[in-house]
């Protein structure tokens, strides 16, 4: 996946968790949890959604790599 596909995927998953969240307003290196006010349950659902849509296993140790948009792009572009 390229960067714009990964962003679109993240936006799609987020829409089901935080419908009012606007991913376009979030900087590349901002913590998504802070920027979009996602709690532990929200972020877990975000990871579940990414796992289901990409098929990536996303081990728990990798979850902190997904806290920013830059991290998401790096993580899924590499895989």
């Amino acid at each position: 996946m390229n960067a714009s596909e990964i962003r679109a995927l993240a936006a799609e998953v987020l829409a089901g968790i935080a419908p009012e969240a606007d991913l376009a307003s979030v900087g590349d290196n901002e913590d998504l949890r802070e920027a979009l006010d996602l709690d532990s349950m929200d972020f877990m659902n975000f990871v579940v959604g990414l796992h289901q849509k990409t098929g990536h296993a996303i081990p728990e140790a990798d979850v902190p790599k997904l806290y920013t948009l830059a991290g998401l792009v790096a993580y899924f572009a590499a895989g």
Partner: protein, 415 residues
């Protein structure tokens, strides 16, 4: 024939409005079936009916009805369906408690559901707390200098509601008459059944009542979270994201297990006495996007496995935010737990949700210096707190609960 009444969905509810019937007159229903959707300040709630039989005489839609009002008749098998309607019974203990609850949200003045009996206002004028006058209504009447004995109530059994007091106030001041009722009956927010301002007022009313009536005492403990964290990490390592557990699951289960040992904090203070809860139904505090808070029950939390609790939490959070909470979940939490999660504050001292007698709080898990065998080492810690009702228990009992929660979290494999 039995009466199906407007349930009390918490101490802060005085009225509700049926916005949808999911059954038709003459339908046969099983006990526990969801039969209606009622709009409250907590949003649209699915209402279960715990009667079985043929349902008849459905209450009209979109009419504000008090807690305890007749919603329908249910005829058991073989009963004649055309029996004359029975007079509405007196509210049960649960609904009476709710009627006492203050309501700051005035609804539009409505015609009296029944003729208010003159004696209904009598006890209201005295200083004793009775079901005929809500605390909010009494306080407002005092502020306005109104003699409540002279007012007509439109609540259950002629009880005076805040709306009645406000209406009387506008009538006694003719120049102000149109303003207050017009503002009070303004259309609700677009999102069906949920108005953040209305919820804010309901929370304000319930919490004001709590702080006014409940003599809180507070205890705190710092809990080592290393054992629980290590267990969680091992559990989650080999699992798909959807099967992982959040730390909240362990906190919930540890609290529920501790309440088995210390049942004095799991129940209600009602009518001057403590009543133990029928099970350990933990109200889980959920922040709503856009503001507000609900704490629906996870039933029998002490008897559920960790994966079951995790599934229940996910389901509850989703329904709290998207709609579809059930009446039973709002009616019977026996204690509240508030867990601030990974981005929350370090500690929290809760406000008890009446008529419950305790609220347990967990802060964010933090890395801090900790002394192990005489040496300072970094450790994950969590601040545990209890706010409890001094009418129902003393700090000694509260301390036993905190100690039991601590013990449970040191042996996560037993949760």
């Amino acid at each position: 024939m039995a009466d199906f009444l407007m349930p009390s969905l918490g101490a802060d509810m005085e009225t509700g409005k049926v916005v949808e019937w999911l059954v038709k007159p003459g339908d046969r229903i099983q006990p526990g079936a969801v039969v209606a959707v009622v709009e409250t300040h907590k949003g649209a709630i699915d209402i279960e009916c715990f009667l079985g039989g043929v349902i008849e005489d459905l209450a009209p839609l979109d009419v504000e009805l008090p807690v305890g009002a007749l919603l329908a008749h249910v005829h058991a098998a073989g009963e004649a369906a055309a029996a004359a309607p029975a007079p509405s019974p007196a509210p049960t203990a649960a609904t009476a408690a709710a009627v006492e609850g203050p309501r700051e949200t005035a609804t539009a003045p409505r015609p009296a559901a029944r003729e208010p009996s003159p004696e209904a206002a009598g006890p209201a004028a005295s200083t004793t707390v009775g079901p005929k006058l809500s605390p909010a209504a009494r306080r407002r009447a005092q502020e306005l200098g109104l003699d409540t004995a002279a007012l007509r109530g439109t609540g259950v059994d002629g009880a005076l509601t805040l709306a009645d007091v406000e209406l009387a106030a506008t009538q006694s001041r003719p120049q102000a008459a149109p303003a207050a009722p017009a503002a009070a009956s303004a259309p609700r927010a677009a999102r069906a059944g949920f108005d953040p301002a209305q919820m804010r007022q309901a929370i304000a009313a319930a919490m004001t009542r709590s702080k006014r009536e409940i003599p809180h005492y507070y205890l705190t403990s710092t809990i080592a979270f290393a054992a629980a964290q290590a267990w969680l990490d091992a559990y989650n390592r080999e699992r798909d994201p959807a099967d992982r557990l959040l730390p909240a699951t362990l906190l919930l289960k540890a609290t529920a297990q501790a309440l088995v040992e210390v049942p004095q904090l799991n129940g209600f203070h009602e009518n001057g006495a403590y009543r133990s809860g029928p099970g350990i139904h933990v109200g889980w505090a959920i922040a709503l996007r856009g503001g507000g808070l609900v704490a629906p029950a996870i039933h029998d939390a002490d008897r559920k496995s960790l994966p079951e609790l995790m599934a229940a939490l996910r389901d509850l959070v989703q329904r709290a935010r998207a709609g579809g909470l059930r009446s039973s979940e709002l009616m019977d939490p026996t204690i509240t737990v508030t867990s601030l999660g990974e981005r929350g504050a370090e500690s929290v001292l809760g406000v008890i949700y009446p008529p419950q007698v305790a609220i347990v709080g967990f802060g964010r898990v933090v890395q801090r210096p900790w002394v192990v065998a005489g040496t300072v080492v970094p450790r994950p810690l969590v601040a545990l707190s209890l706010a409890a009702d001094h009418r129902a228990s003393d700090g000694h009992v509260g301390g036993q609960l905190l100690a039991a929660i601590d013990r449970a979290l040191q042996s996560p494999e037993t949760l």
